[in-house]
Each structure stands twice: as C-alpha cells, then as structure tokens.
C-alpha cells in the first residue's frame, strides 16, 4: 500500500470514526478532543489490520477463499459479551434478508 493511498484511507476512516464518536458524545453528554478521535482512528486502523489477517487465516484454515460470518464470530471468541452481540447482529441481518426474498434473489 503506497503512502498516498494509506493517507486517504486513514482520512476516510477518521471521518467515519468521528461521526460515531460525535453521536456517542452527544448521548453520553461529554466531549472528545480532535486528538482523541485521531488517536482512536489509529487504534481502529491497527485493529482492523489485525482482524483482517485473522479473518483471512481463519477462512483459509476452514478451506475457504471467502471470509464468512463464522470467521467473524471466531474473532470474538475471547469476549463472550461481544460474541453474543455479534451473533445477534448476524442473526438479525439474516432474518432481515430472509424477509425480503426479492433482494436475496436479485443478489444471485
């Protein structure tokens, strides 16, 4: 990844993290300095990097080329609460796509 691309992706991530932080600070009635958001973005960047490599390894270990939701659940294996949340989320999304068969068919 060249530097320019990396900078642009980081900027995009920063923007998205900033939006989430803004929302959360409103809810928690607090403030976050721009430096905080920047540092958090760096952390998230590093975390995504780790997770991406883990996910890739997990899917290869299962003999797949495609990362699927089972791999994501495996990433959260150490944190039961997080595992539960992600599991719920995945089930909810599945139910949602099952309810709209038109979309699911269009995907195929």
């Amino acid at each position: 990844m060249d530097d320019e691309l990396q900078e642009r992706l980081k900027a995009a991530l920063w923007y998205s993290i900033g939006k989430i932080v803004d929302e959360e600070t409103m809810r928690l009635n607090t403030n976050a300095t721009p430096q905080f958001i920047g540092a958090l973005s760096e952390m998230v960047w590093a975390q995504i990097e780790n997770v991406a490599i883990d996910l890739e390894s997990f899917s290869r270990h299962a003999g797949r080329m495609t990362v699927n939701t089972d791999d994501v659940l495996l990433v959260t294996r150490r944190n039961d609460a997080l595992h539960g949340i992600i599991e719920d989320f995945i089930n909810k999304e599945k139910a949602k796509s099952a309810k709209t068969p038109g979309k699911a068919r269009a995907k195929k």
Partner: protein
C-alpha cells in the same frame, strides 16, 4: 445454552412500564456498562455488557413489533370487539398480531398501545440514524490488509465486522467517560468533560485485550 436466558431478559425489559422504559437506556449505559474494564474476570463484566447490548437489540425488535401492532391496531379498531382475554406483555411480544386484537378490545389497554407505537416510531428513527463505518470503506480496508491473493469477503460478514468496529469505537468512548468520572470522584483530577489522548492511552491496553 446461551439463548434461553437471553430470551428471558428480553421479555423482562419489555414488561417494564413505558415511563420506565423511556428512562432506561441512559442509566444502563452510564452505570452498568462502564464497570467492565475494571472487572477483569470475564463472566461478571461480560454479563454486564451483554445486558446493555441486548437492550439495544431488543429495542429494534420491539420497534418492529410496535409498528406491526400499529398496523394491526388501526385495522382492528373499526371491527367488532372480541371478548376480553387476559393478556400480559409477554403475550403481546410473542404473538404481536394476535394479541393486539385482544388489547384493542380493552379500553384501558388502547392508550398503552398508542404509547408503545409512538415509542416504536422514535426507536426506528434512532436505529436508522446510527452512524457506522461505510461498508465499502471497510471492504476496501480489509482487502488492503489481506496478505494472500484471492481472499474474498461475504457481504454479511462485512456488515458484522462493521458492527464490531462500531462497538469498539463506542466502547472506547464509554470507558473513557467512566474512567474520568471515577477519577473525578476520587478527587484525582477535575472532570472537564473532555476525552483526551491521555485517557485513551490509559484504557487502550485493556480495550485491546477485550477485542
């Protein structure tokens, strides 16, 4: 194994009176979610976190049932009344369309339904407005980080990772707020209401271990 208690907890949250329900989300976050970072033994901390998570999950489900109920209620209001049957919240949640008929038949229940419906609308809006990492950006990032050629990612998996990152972000901020509040209580330093890099540095190790 995990599914059973989860369901019970959901029901409990819904049973609570509407006025209480309105006030519920902020206290749960402020008081119960933060203790986690300071309770390293996982089961206890994990349980606390799960409660809050479930409540949000419940919310969205409740909102869908509420909207459904709204539709059912409006269609049924014009029709003849049915014999009143004893129905509690649990029935309403498990069998939304059927029990809404019973609810409408009771005058006192009607007002409660309207409250629920309004809440449902508010919650739906809230859910839609939740900021998240754009899926396209996340896909791009993941592909940049994949080390082997030809690794692909399923759409639903991508969405799940987005949720993961979102939770990571929100959790870091919540922990920061809680940590500052605790420090202020101890009198260590003044809580100026600003989360700074210094705070993030303090909570980062545990946060990264938890994710």
């Amino acid at each position: 194994m995990r599914a059973k208690p989860t369901r019970n907890r959901r029901v409990k949250i819904r049973v609570s009176p509407a006025s209480f329900k309105q006030h519920l989300p902020p206290p749960v976050l402020n008081l119960e979610m933060p203790p986690k970072p300071f309770n390293p033994p996982r089961p206890k901390g994990a349980g606390v976190k799960k409660t809050t998570a479930k409540s949000t999950a419940t919310k969205s489900k409740a909102s869908t049932t509420a909207t459904k109920r709204k539709a059912a209620a409006t269609s049924k209001k014009s029709k003849s009344q049915r014999a009143p049957e004893p129905s509690d919240e649990e029935d309403v949640e498990s069998n939304a369309s059927a029990s809404s008929k019973e609810d409408v038949s009771r005058g006192s229940e009607t007002s409660r339904i309207e409250v629920d419906v309004q809440e449902g609308v508010v919650e739906v809006v809230e859910e839609e407005e939740r900021a998240t990492i754009p899926p396209e950006l996340l896909t791009r990032l993941l592909h940049e980080f994949f080390q082997q050629d030809g690794t692909r990612i399923a759409k639903d998996a991508n969405a799940a990772i987005g949720k993961y990152v979102e939770i990571f972000t929100r959790e870091s901020l919540t922990r920061c707020v809680y940590m500052k509040r605790e420090q202020a209580e101890e009198g260590g330093r003044l809580d100026d209401g600003f989360c700074e890099v210094e705070d993030l540095e303090k909570l980062a190790p545990q946060l990264l271990l938890d994710f």
